[in-house]
């Protein structure tokens, strides 16, 4: 009997596998009906979808292969600032700029993975190295004022005159991005790569012995996830029209992404979406209690990780799985057809 979502489901037909993504996307697409009138609210909604994208990318890196990258913000910043500078300063068409900037982020992430993998760095050390990268990048943004505008930030002209500058349209772009990312993640889970990733997380040594090239897979995951994060950052830069070091700082991005993923369920498909959604709602609700913000966040984190260590999605799925088994055990079964009588034909 198939167990909860973390076990491979390569056998599931494609329709069933991708259905949750379609449903999620369809439901989310309805949001502008409710909030489309308010620029502020759409900003919040877009922010939520943006972070969902970041978190999916982070999930590819951390959820799939256990590499604790504490530089999500920096990777997004590489995409955002990179694309902004390329398009505004060097006149490169916006789409191409975004692609190039995302590639830069992918390369950076891949390099970090490669370093971590070649030196067999554990979780903490990978975290520290990526943190060093993250903080250095932030300092670089602040220091190179002539290029990045320093602390005051950078106005991003390219794209502001397209539909990206509108109120509701960017939402659909980001939603499309998230749906695409989810599809990529799902495809990854179902592929040979996904199987390798899971084996890796379960038991690295056994995976290695089974022929899984742990190093290569980690670098692939690092590169892919980083590229996803970079692209989201680039898109954000052009749709928002203004970026500053704060937009991509560790405190503003990484901390949130980690909490969102851990809440939603590390390694699960919809975990990032659930995490981002809950956080966005929480953030809006907390707005009125601004002074207690940090205290509330801290308390939420504590309660969260003490009670739901695996995250919402896996816990819910496990619960649903248990319910299903209980239900099946209760229902009286139709009597099984009697086995066909074996006839032995004499030779």
């Amino acid at each position: 009997m198939p167990r909860a979502a973390t076990v491979g489901r390569a056998g599931t037909p494609a329709v069933r596998a991708y259905a949750p993504i379609v449903v999620t996307g369809a439901l989310a697409a309805l949001l502008p009906l409710r909030y489309g009138d308010s620029r502020a609210m759409m900003g919040v909604v877009i922010g939520g979808v943006l972070f969902a994208a970041y978190t999916i990318g982070f999930n590819v890196i951390f959820g799939s292969t256990g590499q604790l990258f504490l530089c999500t913000g920096a990777l997004a910043g590489l995409g955002g600032y990179g694309s902004a500078i390329l398009s505004d300063r060097h006149g490169i068409p916006m789409v191409l700029s975004m692609v190039l900037a995302s590639l830069a982020a992918a390369v950076a992430g891949g390099l970090l993975s490669w370093v971590a993998v070649s030196r067999s760095l554990g979780v903490i050390f990978t975290g520290i190295v990526t943190l060093a990268f993250s903080l250095s990048f932030e300092n670089l943004l602040l220091g190179k004022r002539d290029l990045t505008g320093g602390e005051t930030g950078l106005v991003v002209a390219a794209g502001s005159d397209t539909f990206l500058g509108e109120q509701v349209a960017p939402f659909y772009v980001f939603l499309g991005l998230v749906v695409a990312y989810l599809a990529v993640y799902r495809a990854l889970q179902r592929s040979h790569l996904g199987w390798a990733f899971r084996a890796l997380r379960e038991d690295e040594i056994a995976a290695e012995l089974a022929g899984v090239d742990v190093k290569r897979y980690r670098v692939v995951a690092g590169t892919l996830g980083s590229g996803m994060i970079g692209l989201a950052g680039a898109l954000y830069a052009h749709s928002e029209g203004f970026i500053s070091p704060r937009t991509f700082s560790f405190g503003e991005v990484d901390v949130l992404v980690i909490v969102m993923l851990a809440f939603g369920g590390i390694g699960s498909l919809l975990g990032p979406v659930v995490g981002a959604a809950v956080y966005t709602v929480l953030e809006e609700w907390i707005d009125s209690f601004d002074e207690y913000r940090l205290i509330i966040y801290g308390s939420v984190i504590l309660v969260l990780f003490l009670t739901l260590p695996r995250g919402v999605v896996p816990t819910v799925l496990a619960f649903v799985g248990r319910l299903r088994r209980w239900w099946r055990a209760r229902r009286p079964r139709a009597p099984a057809a009697p086995p066909p009588i074996a006839t032995i034909t004499p030779r």
Partner: protein, 286 residues
């Protein structure tokens, strides 16, 4: 140039003290205390409040140290229990996340209740001449304290029975148990000690510049860098790394600039991890 290097050494001793608490806890329990800086700030704020209330400086400082130690002990006895029950990567991750939550809470409480509180210990006296360089009495005293405390710690760990018990848990937890050492007790003791040390660093820092409620995260990051370069789990390593990084800091700040200096320090940590993960000295070595 000599003045700059000397400045660096003096600063470095304080860096070392900062790294000690963090490195001990990590070497001992595999837990990276992300709330370390907040504990330091907590101690400073309590001391400042006592001074405001009219208490004599020394008493106020001791109260601050005690407060930080008490909070740290409370954390170990409560939140850390589920963390210690796990092993390896699981423990590291849960420890990180829970301490992150604690860091937020302490930060939040302090910023909310005492947003403008800052600790400043004015040490009177004219600048003193040491080895041909003028030094403020404040920074001299701070470094002297750091050096003194560091020496006491190293001696304790190396020669005292209780100190050896601490090192034994760092080097081989199971072996320590078989010798009758209770890892849980040792962890509680060291955790509380790290709180006191963190607060002490804040106090010494306040002798040269005010320590505000926002200083927490900077303390934590600096402590992390020092601990990593020195070798997680080694007190002497932390001091050695501290002095080294202190010199790097002042030289870089003097000749290049402050933004780059932070990158340089972070780079030092990253390079150490990549080239020599055990750091300068390595776990349990004193």
């Amino acid at each position: 140039m000599r003045a700059v290097v000397f400045d660096g050494v003096v600063l470095g001793l304080q860096f070392g003290l900062l790294g000690v608490g963090l490195t001990l806890v990590y070497g001992l329990a595999g837990v990276l205390n992300l709330a370390y800086g907040q504990l330091a700030v907590l101690g400073a704020v309590v001391a400042a409040l006592r001074i405001d209330a009219g208490a004599p400086t020394i008493a106020a400082v001791l109260t601050g140290l005690a407060a930080a130690g008490a909070v740290a002990l409370a954390l170990d006895l409560t939140l850390m229990r589920p963390v210690y029950r796990r092993r390896g990567e699981d423990r590291v991750l849960l420890g990180l996340l829970l301490m992150l939550g604690v860091a937020f809470i302490i930060d939040g409480v302090l910023v909310w209740r005492y947003p403008i509180e800052a600790l400043t210990l004015r040490i009177g006296g004219d600048p003193v001449d040491v080895l041909g360089t003028r030094m403020r009495t404040g920074s001299l005293l701070a470094s002297a304290i750091a050096l003194g405390v560091g020496a006491v710690l190293v001696v304790f760990l190396r020669y005292a029975t209780a100190g050896k018990a601490v090192r034994s848990v760092i080097q081989d937890e199971e072996g320590a148990q078989l010798c009758g050492v209770s890892p849980a007790r040792v962890r509680a003791f060291v955790f509380a000690l790290s709180g006191v040390l963190a607060a002490l660093v804040a106090v010494t820092r306040s002798m040269t510049s005010p320590v505000t409620v926002n200083a927490g995260i900077d303390f934590t990051i600096l402590a992390l860098i020092v601990a990593v370069v020195g070798g997680l789990g080694s007190v002497s390593g932390a001091f050695l790394a501290g002095v080294l990084l202190g010199v790097v800091n002042t030289v870089s700040a003097h000749y290049i600039g402050t933004y780059v200096t932070t990158i340089v320090l972070l780079g030092a940590a990253a390079v150490t991890i990549v080239l020599r993960p055990s750091g300068l000295l390595g776990a349990g070595r004193e």
